[in-house]
Amino acid sequence: MADIALDSALTPPSRWTAALRRGGSRLWVGAALVGLLLLVALLAPLIAPHDPLEQDLMSAQLPPAWASGGEPAYVLGTDSLGRCVLSRLIYSARTAVAVALIAATLAAMIGITLGLIAGSFGGWVDQLTSRLIDVWMAFPPVLLSIVLAALIGAGLTSVIVAIVVVDWTRFARVVRAETMVQLKRDYAAAARVLGLGRADILRLEILPNLVPLVVTLLAVEMGIAILVEVILSFVGISVAGDTPTWGGMIAEGRQIVYQAPWIMALPIGCIIASVIGFNLLGDGLRLLLDPVQRR
């Protein structure tokens, strides 16, 4: 009996508990914000009180329900066409989330592949990739996105393509540098002595060491993708005109910002919360995933 009691007292916290504790409050706040965003995007038709496109010209530019003149039916008020601001915010999250997830993942896949190749082959392959990245990064990204969107036409696909085409460099650069560092480590040499080929060493030995880095970048990139989508929809070259987007809402609210400031302030708040959420989540995940805790 005594033995059993002693055993349980000495059992160290499980690996998962320890890892979750390591992530700290950043992980929790980030996960909560991002989780909320995903949930809202996923359940938009269920939780939105109104059709985001339904116009009610009789009750245009209503203030939020708690302000004087607000109506309980429109919790966050209405825009200049009398559409429900809350419902439009909720539906806009769908576009933001779709762009963030798809664009960031694709950019990561391309960037990681090229970064691994450049970092491991070195020589002219590395020179070529690195110079390409340098030249690429010299273009103002938003301008490049606008040109691309103009070239391939507006729409969700073109927004995603624009972000991927611009932002793969962010991953390629960091992954290339880190691959070079990791390949110099003794364990990489040890892997060669164990008879692994180049592809196996990259896949089995180097890539797992890049995970904390890539996850952080990926989360940050999702935040950036949201911002780019906002910018593109603000200037009107994102998804089709009647689909609600945060950027579109800001553009509309800008014209009547003195009469109805909430129409512009609310989507800005959503953007800030999402981007902060993704950044915090990235930070927290990096600490959680890194078993050696090199901070």
Binding site: R185, D186, Y187, A189, A190, A191, R192, V193, L194, G195, L196, G197, D200, L204, E205, P208, N209, V211, D290, P291, V292
Partner: protein
């Protein structure tokens, strides 16, 4: 007795053209089946380079300029890359110098050993883990099953070195190159590691090339030894003969510079600088000669 490894007249240079520095100047040795050969020399003697040349792990700027390396009668230098990789880790294994950095920091010990067994012996994951448990028990690790689930940073340096030794002998190699495996460990652990290498060598029937600067270690476990200086072999033979009746003045000087329990500390004499000078002068004369011959 047949030779497992024959290195003949090996020349290795670092750098290219006029700026090239020779690090091996016609070094040669033989390791016979099942024997332990010590390769001794001061730092910069080229002893690690010789081991690396056999493993095909020379630094990118170093090249073999002349000589042969034969493993079990097969020419290692003429061998194609995939064939050579098939030997590494399987028939020729390495016990690396620094146990702290030679294991992949983000992979569990079990995954690293099992990966090796799967790669070379084609074991299933379950069989590989089973075999890994046996191997860890063989290197006197208590609770091998628990250790398999740990990350390298969660176990001590001595334990990591034992894991690396277990990995080196895992596929019953014909030759194990031990590159100063005790240098990074404290003295009490050194002795255990030496005993372990000796025991595994016997049970797995491998020959060992033991690279070290420590004559005490050589005296303990090596049957034969080779003394290297400035990339040349100065003396070789049975350890007992070389240590009791050294023929070369350098070996004699090394022995006089090695602390021994049966001698007072005052009897220690550093290797005379004049001797080192003359050895290097000889090495550089040889370099000039070979340059002239090539020109």
């Amino acid at each position: 007795m047949t030779a497992v490894l024959t290195v003949h007249d090996l020349h290795v240079a670092i750098g290219r053209g006029g700026g090239a520095t020779n690090v091996l100047r016609g070094a040669g040795l033989e390791v016979e089946t099942g024997e332990v050969r010590g390769l001794v020399g001061e730092s910069g003697a080229g002893k690690s380079m010789l081991g690396r040349a056999v493993l095909g792990l020379l630094p990118a700027n170093a090249a073999i300029t002349a000589g042969q390396i034969t493993f079990k009668g097969r020419d290692l230098l003429a061998m194609r890359e995939p064939e050579r990789r098939g030997l590494l880790g399987r028939s020729i294994a390495l016990i690396p110098q620094d146990p702290m950095t030679s294991l992949n920091p983000v992979k569990r010990v079990g995954a690293q050993i099992a990966g090796l067994l799967r790669h070379h012996l084609g074991l299933s994951n379950r069989d590989a883990l089973e075999r890994a448990t046996e191997l860890l028990a063989e290197v006197a690790i208590r609770e091998p099953r628990r250790v398999l689930g740990l990350y390298p940073h969660e176990i001590s340096g001595g334990m990591r070195q034992r894991v690396l030794i277990a990995m080196a002998f895992a596929c019953d190699p014909a030759l194990v190159i031990a590159d100063e495996p005790t240098t990074a460990l404290d003295v009490t652990v050194q002795r255990q590691v030496l005993q372990l290498v000796e025991r595994l060598r016997q049970s797995h029937g491998a020959a060992v090339l033991f690279v070290t600067h420590d004559l005490g270690v050589v005296a303990k476990i090596c049957r034969t030894m080779t003394v290297l200086h400035a990339g040349r072999v100065l003396e070789e033979g049975e350890t007992a003969d070389v240590l009791t009746r050294p023929r070369h003045p350098y070996t004699r000087a090394l022995l006089a510079a090695t602390p021994r329990a049966d001698r007072p500390a005052e009897a220690l004499r550093p290797v005379p600088p004049a001797l080192i000078e003359s050895l290097w002068a000889e090495a550089h004369r040889l370099d000039a000669l070979s340059m002239a011959r090539r020109a």
